[in-house]
């Protein structure tokens, strides 16, 4: 099958420091690719370039065969790229349900006049979005929190809310930045299942995650970054045996105790 997302020689510098340098890899439909590496390896920076938050200094991002390098996030969203953030980007003062409904922004679009007058077509769209949003909340286990203000949720719940909102866009490519951070073991396992399920439906998933057990368990393919460079890639078994990876990543982790 052809690549859904292909990263070609991507790089960026901040004040002379190469935060990410010449990174290439690709993600196929239904595949889960994880980007790992020690803190400061450039994982989130890489994500920010792919999702249009930063303009890459070098290289290309290809989405479904089209060059989308440096395209603004809202246009990427329209082309089927959706993402979550390590430090959460939630509509804090909306309810949980409203957050997810906002994710239906693109699919639900109709004439403003129809909405104001409350025409049947508009109500039908709103009902559809509402039903879809409730279903997604059930999938991520937030049904009971639906009417609560998002700002009052626990960190782990917000993580799942962000995933639900990202899924509301019905993405072709889903970028998840540390989806399990701050979640307990049970929640992590739930997120595991959720990600596997989404991938099984044909979505290409790119994942940054610190929880190594989770990464090893669900990834098809792992890309290892260190100091902004790709030092290894392959399936979980290969990568975990790679001496360079052990030195850079696991070694560094052990050294910190």
């Amino acid at each position: 099958m052809s690549d859904l997302l292909s990263i070609e020689g991507l790089g960026i510098s901040f004040g002379g420091l190469k935060a990410v340098n010449d990174v290439s890899f690709r993600v196929r439909p239904g595949e889960i690719v994880s980007v790992i590496g020690p803190n400061g390896a450039g994982k989130t920076t890489l994500f920010n370039m792919i999702s249009g938050v930063y303009l890459p200094g070098a290289g290309r991002v290809m989405l479904d065969g089209a060059d989308v390098t440096g395209m603004e996030p809202h246009l990427l969203a329209r082309r089927g790229m959706s993402r979550t953030f390590q430090n959460l980007q939630i509509f804090q003062s909306m309810t949980v349900l409203e957050n997810v409904i906002t994710g239906y922004h693109l699919q639900e679009k109709g004439p403003v006049v129809a909405d104001i007058l409350g025409l049947p077509s508009s109500r039908r769209r709103a009902r559809k979005a509402m039903a879809g949003a409730r279903e997604l909340l059930e999938r991520v286990g937030l049904t009971r929190a639906a009417e609560r203000e998002a700002g009052n949720l626990s960190y782990g719940s917000l993580k799942r809310l962000e995933i639900a909102r990202a899924l509301a866009l019905d993405p072709k490519v889903l970028l998840l930045d540390e989806p399990a951070a701050g979640c307990n073991a049970v929640e992590t396992e739930e997120i595991d299942h959720l990600i596997a399920e989404v991938a099984a439906s044909g979505v290409a998933i790119l994942l940054v995650e610190h929880d190594m057990k989770m990464v090893m368990r669900i990834s098809n393919h792992i890309v290892v970054l260190d100091h902004g460079e790709k030092i290894a890639e392959g399936d979980p078994a290969t990568v975990s045996q790679n001496p360079a990876v052990i030195a850079a990543y696991l070694g560094a982790e052990n050294a910190h105790g």
């Binding site: 969203a77 993402r83 980007q89 509509f91 409904i101 693109l106 909405d115 909102r165 990202a166």
Partner: protein
Amino acid sequence: MSELLQFLFSGITVGAVYALVALGFTIIYNASDVVNFAQGEFVMLGGMITWFAHAQGLPLPLAALIAIAATAALGVAMNKLMIEPARGAPVVSLIIITIGASIFIQGAAQLVFDKQIHSFPAFSGDDPIRIGGATILPQSLWVIGGALVVFLALWLFFTRTLLGRAVLATSNNRLAAQLVGINTNFVMTLSFALSAAIGALAGVLATPITLTAYSVGIGFALKGFAGAMLGGMGNPKGALVGGFLIGLFEAMTAGYLSSQYKDAAAFIVILAVLFFMPQGLFGRKSTDRV
């Protein structure tokens, strides 16, 4: 008693104008957290352009329509030329830019039009309507009706339409809004157009009562701002109630104290709100997650 009623009527009339200005503040604030101090100039332009077009021989409704459309276009230009290029600047800088825009528009109006005081005929004549010993002008009813209609339309827009929700989403979290596919630049442009059109409408409705000149904008801006603050920034209901309360407070001050202190009323309200309830009557407490 009839005296009190008279003050009430005049308070509600100016209050409706302030409510319209406050609603204009609300829209831009909702989209961007920016308090647009050029909002008063939109009111001025609404009145001045209508006067000018009417004086050129155009029928009043057409003149008013032109004024509202032209002011909306100016609002869009202001966003494109002044606010958008400064995207990413702190909100305070953007607010200062709007003050600059306000001074610029005022100066330009002085050059393009003149420095005289102008008016145009009231829409439904000048015969006062008698109610319980007091009188109210038909034009006052136009102003009050205008404020209520705009409020209702905005309320429907923000609660019912997807676009309205996109505006709220943009103010709530711009990056998250972009992530779900909202074109936040378009939302900003739309907000400025709407705000400017509402401001101009206020000018069109109020001018037969309050008269207009190139310099009236600042007064409207400050009092509308006081109303928006009192009601709670960003809340359409708050803007409506706050605007009317400022108008009433002003009319009572003028009636029972001295009309010299009339303009001080709004400032006292601003100070009192800032000291005692910064979130206003209907505002939410803001809680930032760290």
